[in-house]
Assembly symmetry: C3
Homo-oligomer: 174 residues x 3
């Protein structure tokens, strides 16, 4: 590669990393009843991107990102599957990316935690899952976008909490 | 952007990511009674940087990084709020960054775990929290530094441990 | 640095980050009985790299990556120490890296979760640990490789699970 090509490669890598990070921030800037994930995800996915979230419980291995948002967060008065939770984090690690001209593939680890609304006993619990995303990306006039994503869940489980024994941090305010 | 400007942008992005990573390493290279976080944080924050850690329990929405260190780790014989813990990790994900000349804004997810000193029953427990930092940065003669940070806690809770059922890993040595 | 040197630095940083990410993907692309980690780690470590995993229980402070794989995943009919688990994630944060010509040092935080095979009561549990890797890297004809790694465990502990109270996610399928 000549110098211009090297710089183009580096800019592509930076932009692809940014798109992957923006996915998680689309989830996490919108907690609880705020379901406006599309504010970020419209800059993450192409409109016709195919998302396979079947391992997470979605009924099909093909969905648009807007269908996934409706499934997660609800739509027109219907609850989403995330309605059992009030708070969450989607934390993205450093991705491996291969670029071939105007397309790319990426693998990225994600660490997810979801805080459940308290049950009758007043205690919350967590649903945590560990994911490896397998993505295809495409260069568009608006920048790199994810055109295909496979949600590769490594594990998912529920965990109990306890009352803070130190009495210093009271989670009820979050 | 011409080639020089593109390279400057990429160097700025790399340096800003490094500053954000150095924050967590300032915490994690100093475990337990070692409170010398300033070894790293003096290269992370400007001396007059404003830190809003009020969501984490700090009594004001304005503090210097040295005030936050004293609050966390103790000062002149006073215990810090982290004194209830012996070990921790502050794990930073990939940041979203916008640069405008000599200033920048950044959002970064952090995953925090804190191992409590064992109680009377000999069992430890964990205080975990999920954070999104909202930062402002400034280019200084010494490099990029954080000039404002909002500690956006997404959730915080306490979790129990169990004795390792496999008997292979004995956490008491850490 | 002139422009060529700056671009070389940025490419080195990107490649070193990629090598560090590939370590975790070597673990996580091979879950359960699939122990073929060397598919990735042969591109992560030099063949004579020295790995100090003694804090994790390895009997020596010097091992090759192939010896660590055999210890973790088993070899010639012998179980590895990870055999008590069925699923895991090794999630790498953003690294701090210093490059000096054809060598480099890096510090990277890793968040690890390991799902145990269920016990007699049918319940699984987790062994989680928080790590800071201290690495030395070297530029080889095939690219950057890790030549020395210290596995700096910050903490390690076992955690209980509960049956998903929502009844929505059933972890038994993962």
């Amino acid at each position: 590669m000549n110098l211009e090509e090297k710089v183009k490669y580096l800019l592509d890598r930076q932009e692809i990393q940014d798109v992957i990070a923006l996915y998680s921030q689309g989830q996490d800037l919108h907690q609880g009843d705020d379901g406006n994930i599309a504010e970020q995800w419209s800059k993450v996915f192409t409109e016709d991107a195919v998302l396979d979230y079947s391992t997470g419980g979605y009924h099909s291995d093909k969905a648009t990102y807007r269908e996934i948002i409706a499934w997660m967060r609800g739509d027109r008065g219907n609850n989403g599957v995330m309605n059992v939770f009030s708070n969450w984090q989607h934390h993205m690690g450093i991705p491996n990316v291969s670029i071939d001209g105007d397309t790319a593939t990426a693998r990225t680890e994600m660490w997810c935690t979801h805080r459940a609304k308290p049950g009758e006993d007043g205690r919350t619990w967590y649903l945590d899952d560990a994911v490896m995303f397998h993505d295809k990306l495409v260069r568009t006039p608006d920048g790199w976008r994810i055109s295909y994503r496979y949600n590769g869940i490594l594990w998912i489980d529920a965990f109990p909490t306890i009352k803070d024994p130190s009495g210093v941090w009271d989670s009820t305010t979050f």
